[in-house]
């Protein structure tokens, strides 16, 4: 097997430079690459275009990169819950491209599956369709949407092996497997890194061929955005 292991987040993101486009996995704060985000803040790389479903909260997730003004543009489906984000957006410091969540996911998959474009009905007849090709198949209109072209994809998995194979846990899977397929270089941080052969080949969500660098993070905070519970009785 090919060994993809790197020492830590700093080494994993070492060659990300100003102005690049990076994808970051996660839905809300669930399944986000905490360690790589911290390393990006530490490295101070700027003018980033971030493709991620959400933009974090003020003091966690991509919100940390917004606070330090490292993000030039966000490509997301939903960006609420972030006051600093709102301030930068309204002041014109931050550019935002909002795209439907399914389109976001499918444009990642298209990149990973070598499909230059995909067709989706999402957004037909709305401002999302402006400037895009509309084509009718079987009586229904679809928009042509391009595969993403990202310099790096950064994902978070539950377990991984040094060959780059990844296994996700519960709904922290979300965008992570499709983004893992879509980066020119894909970086994975995992809660537990094991040797090849320890993961069941039938249970691997992302085959190692898609992953270029992998490391084990520690002390994951895994913050909860909306803590909802029911009473015991």
């Amino acid at each position: 097997m090919i060994n993809k292991r790197v020492a830590d987040a700093d080494e994993a993101i070492r060659d990300i430079i100003d102005g690049q486009t990076i994808m970051l996995g996660g839905f809300g704060l669930c399944g986000i690459p905490e360690k790589c985000i911290a390393a990006l803040v530490k490295k101070g790389v700027k003018e980033l275009t971030c493709i991620s479903n959400n933009a974090g909260v003020d003091d966690f997730g991509i919100g940390l990169l917004l606070k330090t003004r490292q993000v030039k543009k966000m490509v997301s489906s939903y960006v609420g819950e972030n006051a600093e984000f709102e301030r930068q957006l309204l002041s014109g410091e931050l550019e935002v491209e909002l795209i439907p969540q399914g389109t976001l996911a499918t444009r990642c998959m298209a990149a990973g599956y070598g499909m230059p474009v995909i067709y989706t009905p999402a957004g037909v007849g709305t401002e999302v369709a402006e400037g895009k090709e509309v084509r009718n198949f079987n009586g229904k209109d679809y928009l042509m949407e391009y595969a993403f072209d990202a310099d790096f994809a950064i994902v978070k998995a539950w377990k991984g092996d040094t060959a780059g194979n990844l296994v996700f846990r519960s709904t922290s899977r979300n965008f992570n497997p499709v983004m893992a397929m879509a980066g020119k270089i894909t970086i994975a941080e995992v809660e537990e890194l094991v040797e090849p052969g320890e993961l069941d080949p039938d249970h691997i969500h992302t085959p190692g061929v898609y992953v270029h660098r992998i490391f084990q993070g520690s002390d994951y905070e895994k913050r909860i955005e909306q803590r909802t519970v029911r009473p015991r009785n």
């Binding site: 479903n53 489906s77 399914g102 998959m109 989706t120 999302v128 519960s170 979300n174 909802t228 029911r230």
Partner: protein
């Protein structure tokens, strides 16, 4: 006139045994509380889950297990987890039998606006544009009139659209209405104590109503 729970209760009656259902944020989420015993439904959450269960007991919250509203939740036996591409794949291929979502405005030709108010901070459409463009069966849960008494069931939406010509049924605090394929709202049921005339006054889009419209049965 219905409160939010009343709207949810009425919508729950539209859910048939064996349905896969996607519930949006707000009133639609409340619908889960009123699904009758013996009606087996599977709830889809578009962040990648089929078989959503209730909120966890306090102390059992799992940060890796949330719904599309980012709330901590649980799963039921028989649930499955998948990535975002497959989640919207099953939405686009119409494997989800019923989608229930909220709206700011609906027009008489089935257009819906629910994601953007010009001049206000825009948070994004999330999965709403995918859902309305793909679902074969959508019920909108919404307020019939705003606080100023103005209708939100319009000839044409004034807000930026989420989807065009896709809504076929609306449940409000006043009524259940179908949207006809040829255009126009058709009054199907009125809320308890609400008159047909009041619904007519409250609907600015074209409305078709018989003189005698039955009152909703919420039980």
């Amino acid at each position: 006139m219905l409160d939010k729970n009343g709207i949810a209760r009425r919508i729950a009656k539209e859910i048939k045994d064996g349905y896969y259902v996607n519930l949006g944020i707000g009133i639609p989420t409340l619908v889960a509380n009123y699904i009758p015993d013996g009606v087996n439904v599977v709830l889809q959450s578009e962040n990648g889950l089929l078989g959503m269960g209730p909120f966890p007991f306090e102390g059992e919250e799992d940060p890796d297990m949330i719904n599309a509203g980012k709330q901590t939740i649980t799963t039921l036996p028989g649930s499955s987890i998948f990535d975002s591409a497959m989640s919207f794949g099953m939405i686009r291929s119409q494997k989800i039998d019923l989608t229930i979502l909220g709206a700011m405005e609906v027009s008489e030709n089935g257009d819906i606006a629910n994601w953007k108010i010009p001049g206000k901070m825009v948070k994004g459409m999330g999965g709403a544009m995918d859902l309305v463009a793909s679902a074969k069966n959508i019920i909108v849960a919404m307020q019939h009139i705003n606080k100023a008494g103005e209708s939100k069931l319009l000839p044409k939406c004034s807000l930026p659209l989420t989807g065009v010509n896709c809504i076929r049924k609306v449940v409000t605090e006043l009524a259940v209405l179908d949207i006809l394929p040829e255009g126009g709202f058709r009054l199907i049921e009125r809320a308890p104590g609400v008159s047909v005339d009041f619904i007519k006054q409250s609907t600015s889009g074209k409305l078709f109503a018989e003189a005698d419209v039955k009152e909703m049965d919420l039980n």
